[in-house]
């Protein structure tokens, strides 16, 4: 099974003393002519799916094809927030399974993903927002998830720097507090999954771009890449940002529009913010890393694009909104800004499962909520592939729901979406 020595403090000590190097985290492999499963996309979803196939189902003849380096897409660009305080029962159950998997992921993968469950607070500045918070809290509680609506006094206790005194334009009327939510080291999740999948025999192929998908008589046969062609009976689209373009290669039409989502980080300051703070009205969310940098995110850009260039409007707007909440942060400096691409669906829920092309599966439409779902997406997609049965947790997210008019109503809970 696993060929890798365990990461641990003892291991560090030993190698520090002997000077012996750690083995490679994942190997470079040649492209085989065929596999049992091809996973397109080397981000957390693709890697989690490959890992789950190998770990839970013993399916190891799996190739993960990544056109750049592992985790170069959304997995490396998100603001790494994990939570399960969604709006619909289907959403809540799904994301909560993911959160529970995240809680033990470091031990399961033997890689410290640094999941810091410091609490997640969504501020309500209007009655309508408070109603939505209450709605989420009630659905969460019925699913036995820790979420509750709290008032301005409790909020002030959690985040003293927040200006909760009566603000003429954005009063803090209350908030939805979700203690199990928090932040994680996103690259570590990519590397942890990659290392574990590789150890189980999965082939990770970086710098390998899928240029065509072979479909014959309504079923998938394999893919063409810049390094050669491969056949496989199952091909899974686990890309984000380009999932429409990959689906086009298989002739599958999907209800996805791609929008950039920008983020920025400040220079480090001494840690003072121990909760993730979100404001829907102000379209901003802020957390602080263990190094002390503040990480900001906001709503998606107002028009669809495949560009990941940052804009000045974003930093101006996010700065203005953050300072509405915490005016004493004015001297803090933005060090870096970036953007990732979000595949938005009409109902702010993903698209998982089968398509009209037999053997071609999708795990797409992850909008602004993909990273937090990686473990459960991997687990359920692997189950679907291995058993050919759609797991209950993802039944509501099928592609057919749009043709049937059965949309999932998550728009009120996707923090700062549209």
């Amino acid at each position: 099974m696993s060929r890798l020595p365990r990461y641990s403090a003892v291991g560090l000590l030993r190698r520090g003393v002997t000077g012996r190097r750690w083995p490679v985290v994942w190997r470079h492999r040649d492209l085989e002519p065929s596999y049992d499963v091809i996973v397109i996309g080397g981000g957390v979803h693709g890697l989690a799916t490959a890992y789950s196939l190998a770990k839970n189902h013993g399916i190891t003849r799996v190739a993960v094809l990544e056109r750049a380096y592992l985790g170069s897409g959304g997995s490396g660009r998100n603001t790494a927030i994990i939570r399960s305080n969604y709006l619909t029962p289907e959403g809540v159950r799904f994301y909560d399974r993911s959160l529970k998997l995240y809680e033990t992921l470091a031990q399961d993968l033997n890689y410290n993903v640094m999941f810091s469950q410091r609490g997640h607070l969504t501020l309500a500045h209007t009655d309508a927002a408070l109603r939505t918070m209450r709605w989420r809290a009630e659905v969460n509680k019925l699913e036995r998830i820790d979420s509750e609506v709290i008032g301005p006094a409790d909020i002030a206790g959690l985040v003293p720097e927040l200006d909760v005194s009566s603000h003429p334009r954005y009063p803090v009327l209350g908030g939805l507090f979700h203690p199990p939510g928090g932040i994680i080291r996103h690259d570590a999740v990519v590397w942890g999954y990659a290392r574990a999948a590789d150890a189980l025999g999965v082939a990770l192929h970086q710098q390998t771009e899928v240029t065509g998908i072979d479909v014959e008589a309504g079923r998938v046969r394999g893919v063409r890449t810049n390094r050669g062609s491969i056949t496989a009976p199952v091909v899974v689209n686990c890309t984000a940002g380009w999932s429409s373009l990959v689906c086009d290669l298989a002739g599958v039409a999907v209800p996805i529009t791609t929008y950039p989502l920008q983020a920025a980080v400040t220079e480090p300051v001494r840690p003072f913010l121990h909760t993730v703070v979100v404001s829907g009205t102000l379209h901003v969310y802020v957390s602080q890393t263990d190094r002390g940098e503040l990480v900001f995110g906001a709503a998606t850009d107002p028009y669809p694009s495949y560009s990941t260039r940052g804009t000045l409007e974003f930093t101006e707007s996010v700065a203005a909104h953050v300072l509405e909440l915490m005016p004493s942060l004015a001297p803090l400096r933005v060090l870096r800004q970036w953007a990732g691409l979000c595949d938005m669906t009409p109902d702010f829920s993903p698209i998982m499962g089968r398509t009209p092309v037999e053997g071609f599966l999708v795990d797409i439409g992850w909008g602004t909520y993909g990273f937090k779902a990686a473990p459960v997406a991997g687990e359920t997609m692997a189950e679907l592939i291995a058993t050919d049965r759609v797991p209950k947790l993802i039944r509501a997210f099928d592609l057919d729901r749009f043709a049937d008019g059965r949309l999932v109503g998550e728009r009120g809970a996707a923090a700062v979406g549209h």
């Binding site: 380009w242 429409s244 999907v254 694009s305």
Partner: protein, 85 residues
């Protein structure tokens, strides 16, 4: 920058994206599948594409324009109801 046929070259922030402008089936005769393809399915292409925008902070005209989905360059903006003479 987008060149509005009425107002000239203006900053993109004055305009609002209004969708892909895909063909609309006849609501009286379309099947549910066809209607929902229109409602939900998107081309979402890369490269140059035609889409609908509105000069919202401006003359309010809906424009059909060609935009490059990665460089965000815009060329050829036409008012949907017909450009000014």
């Amino acid at each position: 920058m987008i060149t509005c046929p009425w107002c000239g070259s203006r900053d993109t922030s004055e305009f609002a994206y209004a969708g892909e402008g895909n063909p609309r089936p006849d609501p009286a005769t379309a099947s549910p599948e066809a209607w929902r393809r229109y409602l939900y399915v998107r081309r979402n292409p890369d490269g140059w594409t035609t889409e609908l925008w509105r000069h919202r902070i401006g003359c309010g005209t809906y424009l059909r324009l060609e935009r490059h989905r990665t460089t965000d360059e815009v060329r050829l903006a036409r008012a949907v109801g017909g450009d000014p003479a």
